[in-house]
Amino acid sequence: MFRLGKHVARILLTVLLGGILGATLLRVAPGFGVDEEELDSRLNDQSIRALRQEQQTDTNVITFYFRYLGRMLHGDLGISRTLRRPVSELLRERLPETAKSVTLSLALGWALSFALVILALMSRSWSVDLFGSVISGFLLCLPAAVLSVLFVMSRAPARLVLALIVFPNVYRYVRNLLLRSASQPHVLMAQAKGLGNFRIMLWHILWPAAPQLLALGGVSVSLALTAAIPVEALCDLPGIGQLAWKAALGRDLYLLVNLTMVVTVITLLANSASNLLGEAFRPSAA
């Protein structure tokens, strides 16, 4: 219970710090507090001054942040300056899209990685291992933007791009972990005694590697979330990644701070969950 409390406190502190850091970075970025609309020749001087006045309300980061936190406690996440809509509404619309993409990419990336590694281990075929390594190496070399453009041009489902970004990163670790686990003396002994392949794989290779695999699971969530930003922006997927891109370009303080916090919370929750689960696995594995 104490351990869980410590995790929650750490998450809370990191999120609060992440939020203020995000706000500070945006505040000091060149072009903060200006609006493209100012160049509209139809606007008269009073309107331009009113527009500028509106932008000046959030110039002090500390004041902004405390006011923001106070409003957040009442469920108000502020209004997006660039999209002129409540941030809570935008998050409600966009989060499910990103959740779908990230979940699908994690499921596919992990499934593909496991399938290739297990196939290589069970068949003891170097060609399968080589195939997996070449494919993952090739995908690792391809920038997310290039993959996105290729998918758009070939009309392939854009959500799969994320899976191809997750796969090579996961594959390398899974391969190394399971290979090391498979070369342990007790596994060789079990094979010599004629235990079934499935049983050896499940209880003597996968089970001992479970804590590390769970830790990798946490990392892969943040990897998929980070990759979602350029992929959604390039493939026109209406998720929070696309929103973050627009918020950064438009210096949208409320939107960007909220998105920073959301991404931080998800990343930390995923990592904490994998750590806690990993710790739960350890005693039985030992």
Binding site: E38, I48, T82, R84, L243
Partner: protein, 543 residues
């Protein structure tokens, strides 16, 4: 057994074909918005996407005919401007209803104008009507007659109503109840806006059939222009309203029947020098930039024909001044683009004491002439133009450094810190009337970009422009206005505070399945006659 399977496959294929055909028969026009619409409120629309939706859904009292550039009656069957240009009286069309069946009356016009002129509403549409201090008076004279009196005369008042989508005073649906050809039926944030035909739209064709012909419009929110082109070529979109030269040529090479070049548009590309006295530039550079000879010399050293030919693939024309040749009435036809003449440029520079020594141009104090030109990053045309200007200026010994900045940083420099030397940007012109350029030409204006917010005009020629711009705005006689604005154009040509480079052509692409499309130079280029457009599968039904 094999034969049985084959039959099942055939049935499945036929069913799929039938479903596809049914889906396509719904007469849906598809094109793209390049960003999320910020609002559906017609009075607040200022971004391109919101303006597109306003055009397709909003009913207006008067429309500017995009072909003839004249005002034509829409919801107002007649109007009269009186009281020295301060009052406009509208006679409204009878029997018109909003999309939710609420009847349309003079009260709705009064309500819309009251909302529009709310001092707290800082929208470009509203600002076009703010000619002086004081309140706007609205008198509902009868169910179908309304008089609006502004505190000061407004030049070109009737055409300004082209931008005002009338809202209902009584409808519970508020701004979603519309008088235009379509109404918003569905909006999925980040994905699309679906418009459905307004069942109460008042217009009918010659045979009495209610307009518009097309059942619905799906506006896909698509930022990526490459994807948009691909989708058009695959037949997933029906048109692209505005295209860059490169994309235009790509479409032209693949299917020439789709590509439409309507000719030179109202938009211009220009550069200017920072003449702000308080800017953090060295004094000798401020002196260069304030010199008419220096600006004229830079202008003459730039080969505009090459910019149009190479950067815009021939789909642009050397610019003359603040008004494009496409603006039939207001363009000063006496003026010609500044010729490319490096020899004359050097002569002008020598009048100010500049000398070309060892390939480097130096001022009287011996400073080598070097300055930076900022422009917005990601705009490949401006980046290419800057590179060509760099080469042209190198020819007269000037070193030009190109700096690309993201838009917010660039705006900060040209409007707040004034920490820049020269800037290359474009002017998107939606309005034909020079009154829309008041905030650019008045020396006291925020958008007088080379030297904004002057307490009193810094130069005699700026004082003269102030006088002429105010004079043209205070008279209703269009001939007099034209004479005044012609003089403004002449001063701008002579002094070159803005060095106008090119006017881009209005390029668009329209699928052959869209009939009655006649792309024009004024926005919205392709769908200005949206209620007359017909899709291929609708032609038979129409006739």
């Amino acid at each position: 057994m094999k034969q049985h399977r084959f039959r099942i496959i055939l049935v499945v294929i036929s069913l799929l074909g039938a479903i596809t055909a049914f889906a396509q028969s719904g007469s849906e026009l598809r094109f793209c918005l390049h960003s999320e619409p910020k609002t559906f409120n017609p009075l607040l629309a200022e971004d391109d996407s919101s303006e597109t939706i306003r055009y397709l859904t909003g009913g207006v009292l008067i429309r500017v005919d995009r072909l003839t550039q004249n005002a034509i009656p829409e919801l107002a069957t007649a109007w009269k401007i009186s009281n020295g240009g301060r009052t406009i009286i509208f006679k409204l069309r009878d029997g018109v209803r909003f999309s939710d069946t609420t009847p349309f009356s003079a009260e709705d016009v009064g309500y819309t104008v009251r909302q529009l002129m709310d001092p707290a509403l800082h929208s470009p549409t509203a600002d076009s009507f703010r000619s002086g201090e004081g309140a706007v008076e609205i008198q509902v004279l009868s169910r179908n007659r309304v008089a609006i009196t502004f505190p000061a005369p407004i030049a070109g008042l009737d055409k300004l109503f082209d931008q005002v989508g009338i809202m209902s005073a009584k409808s519970p649906q508020k701004e979603m109840a519309v008088l235009g050809p379509y109404h918003v039926a569905e909006y999925k944030a980040g994905s699309y806006v679906l418009l459905q035909r307004n069942p109460n739209y008042w217009k009918h064709d010659g045979s009495g059939k209610q307009l518009p012909y097309i059942e619905s419009i799906k506006l896909d929110i698509q930022q990526n222009r490459d994807t948009e082109i691909l989708r058009l070529l695959r037949g997933e979109l029906d048109f692209i309203n505005s295209l860059d030269a490169e994309y235009f040529d790509k479409i032209l090479s693949q299917d020439s029947s789709m590509a439409h070049d309507a000719g030179v548009s109202l938009d211009s590309e220009q550069m200017w020098f920072n003449q702000v006295a308080s800017s953090p530039l060295p004094d000798y550079k401020k002196e260069w930039f304030r010199s008419t000879n220096f600006r004229r010399a830079i202008s003459e050293a730039i080969n505009r024909d090459d910019l149009a030919r190479i950067v815009f693939h021939g789909h642009a024309r050397p610019a003359v001044g603040p008004v494009s040749i496409a603006n039939k009435f207001w363009f000063n036809s006496k003026l010609q683009p500044h010729p490319f003449d490096p020899t004359s440029a050097l002569q002008r520079l020598s009048q100010d004491g500049f000398q070309l020594r060892d390939g480097v141009l130096r001022d009287r104090q011996g400073h080598g002439v070097e300055f930076s030109l900022i422009t917005n990053s990601g705009n490949k045309y401006r980046e290419r133009m800057a590179t060509m200007i760099q080469q042209d200026l190198a020819g007269i010994g000037i070193k030009l450094n190109i700096v690309t900045l993201d838009f917010p940083s660039l705006i900060e420099r040209i409007t707040r810190s004034f920490n820049y030397e020269a800037c290359l940007l474009g002017l998107v012109n939606n309005d034909l009337d020079p009154d829309s350029q008041m905030n650019i030409w008045l020396s006291s204006a925020e958008n007088h970009q080379w030297n904004p917010n002057q307490k009193s005009p810094a130069t005699n020629w700026e004082a003269e422009i102030d006088k002429l711009m105010r004079a043209q705005a205070s008279t209703l006689d269009s001939r007099k206005r034209k004479t005044y604005f012609d003089q403004v154009q002449e001063i701008a040509w002579e002094q070159e505070p803005f060095i106008y480079l090119v006017n881009r052509n209005a390029l668009s692409a329209v699928s052959p399945s869209v009939h009655n499309a006649h792309p024009v130079v004024l926005r919205p280029q392709v769908y200005w006659n949206i209620d007359q457009l017909v899709l291929g599968n609708e032609v038979a039904r129409k006739h």
